[in-house]
């Protein structure tokens, strides 16, 4: 027990809340079997700590103290209420006898995984998975999630309430899935994390700063998952996010205008994130189990190695897109492969491939396929074709920075 004055305890509690509250919450959900009860117990535990730690001293194991305080507060609350509500008596009896001691460190880590897998259960709607993960695992406030997703707090609150109701009523278990179910369930967790990341990354328009925090949150989640579940696919996704994030400072101007990869000031790329990303890609590739995330990360790593587009290893990038098309066939991947081939063999070969994709009817409504086609035509000196494709792309593009970029290009070709 350490002796601290009131102000020191307040400071300590603020730090502990930041670092421990979601862990304590995850364990309380297991012990209490209910998200709302656990949330209430968590707040009661911190209130009890604020009251007791300055007079009785700070306990050695803060986390265990908070879990145990939360559990006792919840039992008290349920006992009080169960006098009026018979259905709570069963819960009170169940949580009165803890199945396992809370001090078990492994179990606490497992609880965080349980929480992630439960919030990302494929039986929940994707929008509910995202909202629940950010609220329950990351501890974001409903208002913060709403502003990041450009929606109202009421909408997010409703998704969370419905998600928790489904977890309870459909019997979604609070557990780490069995080995047999693990690949499917990990996929679902990874898509939630990547969705959160992209929501923050693709919208770095400079007008809503909160969205960049979403990418940070996704990277934090990816790190957490990778520590607990060192699976090559998890490492691949974490690498991909770090390598994409490393370009954030360079990919838009101060005014929020988009800067293409070829025009980015590479000295502004975050070297620390690049080196962490690259070592994760290498580890993921060496496992022999190559996922789409890992291949995309490897592509980003090739870009990160080059000083500029002229010295980029486009053969390798084209080959990696070919590999990606095998793992996860999609016309967007083919489009990217065409762009890489154009960089390697010249715009004429790229244009041929893009026209073949467009001729199939795939990507006809995708602004980037027309923007890429326009770019090939521009480089070939086919100004009229370039203008028509830029105009088509502009008609389809939705995000303001992308639209401004296309308008600039149109002005440049005259």
């Amino acid at each position: 027990m350490a002796e601290l004055d009131g102000e020191q305890v307040r400071q300590l509690l603020a730090d502990v809340y930041r670092s421990e509250s979601r862990r304590v919450f995850a364990t309380l959900v297991r012990l209490l079997g209910d998200f709302d009860l656990a949330e209430e117990a968590l707040h009661d535990a911190f209130a009890a700590a604020a009251e007791q730690w300055s007079s009785t001293g700070v306990p050695d194991n803060l986390r265990a103290w908070l879990v145990s305080a939360g559990r006792f507060k919840a039992i008290d609350a349920i006992r009080r209420r169960s006098r009026f509500d018979a259905s709570l008596q069963e819960i009170a009896g169940r949580i009165d006898t803890p199945a396992r001691p809370e001090s078990d460190g492994d179990d606490i880590e497992d609880d965080r995984l349980r929480l992630i897998f439960t919030c990302c259960h494929p039986a929940l709607a994707s929008s509910a998975q995202v909202a629940l993960t950010l609220r329950e695992v990351c501890g974001l406030k409903t208002e913060e999630i709403a502003s990041a997703f450009l929606t109202t707090p009421a909408t997010i609150a409703q998704r969370i309430v419905r998600g928790k109701a489904k977890i309870r009523d459909a019997g979604i278990p609070y557990q780490v899935p069995s080995i047999a179910d693990l690949p499917e369930r990990v996929d679902s967790v990874l898509s939630v994390i990547y969705l959160v990341f992209n929501e923050g990354y693709s919208a770095s328009s400079g007008e809503s700063l909160t969205r960049a925090d979403l990418s940070q949150e996704a990277i934090r989640l990816g790190r957490l998952l990778s520590e607990m579940l060192p699976d090559p696919e998890v490492q691949g996704l974490l690498a991909l996010m770090l390598l994409q994030e490393s370009r954030r400072a360079a990919r838009s101007t101060a005014e929020g205008d988009l800067v293409l990869l070829e025009d980015q000031d590479r000295s502004r790329w975050n070297r620390e994130q690049i080196s962490e990303g690259k070592s994760l890609v290498e580890r993921a590739l060496s496992s022999g189990r190559v996922s789409a995330y890992t291949i995309q990360a490897a592509i980003a790593a090739v870009h990160a190695d080059a000083a500029g587009t002229a010295t980029t290893d486009w053969s390798q990038i084209a080959a990696l897109y070919g590999l990606l098309a095998g793992v996860e066939p999609s016309p967007v991947v083919e489009l990217n492969r065409a762009v890489a081939i154009a960089m390697r063999d010249g715009p004429a070969s790229g244009l041929e491939l893009i026209d073949a994709i467009l001729a199939r009817g795939d990507l006809a409504d995708y602004h980037l396929s027309h923007a890429a086609r326009a770019d090939m035509c521009r480089r070939l000196g086919r100004t009229a074709d370039a203008r028509a494709s830029y105009e088509r792309a502009l008609a389809l593009a939705k995000q303001e920075p992308e639209r401004r970029f296309l308008v600039r290009r149109l002005q440049e070709i005259g």
Binding site: H121, A123, D169, A170, G171, I172, P173, Q175, P177, S178, D181
Partner: protein, 116 residues
């Protein structure tokens, strides 16, 4: 918990021999579930051509030919099982032969007191 596993599919998607082997496989599944104490009931249903719908409006009974809704996929049978949680129910649903052609919808039972 008790779960109702509703098997939906296009009833014309099955050949007679496929339907026969589906019955055999389903019967094996019921025996396996029974041995684990998870079997509460199961049955295939006659095709929707045999369906009759009944509504009572303003105290008047209306009987019509056909299913509740004309859809591309129809309710073709059900399993009623006891499962620890949704994950267990999902793994049972994945073993139902109808899931390979159609869709198995899992619905937790709402248990209310006072039923006979």
């Amino acid at each position: 918990m008790k779960y109702m596993l509703l098997v939906y599919g296009n009833e014309n998607a099955w050949t007679d021999s496929e339907r026969q082997s589906c019955f055999v496989e389903s019967a094996e599944l019921t025996h396996d579930l029974n041995a684990r104490g998870q079997y509460l009931g199961a049955n295939p249903l006659q095709p929707i051509a045999t369906a009759t719908s009944v509504r009572v409006r303003d105290g008047k009974r209306l009987v019509t030919d056909g299913p509740f809704a004309e859809t591309h996929e129809q309710l073709g049978g059900y399993f009623l099982v006891e499962a620890k949680d949704l994950s267990e129910a999902i793994s049972i649903a994945g073993r139902i032969p109808g899931a390979r052609k159609g869709t198995v919808e899992i619905r937790p039972m709402l248990e209310i007191p006072g039923l006979a």
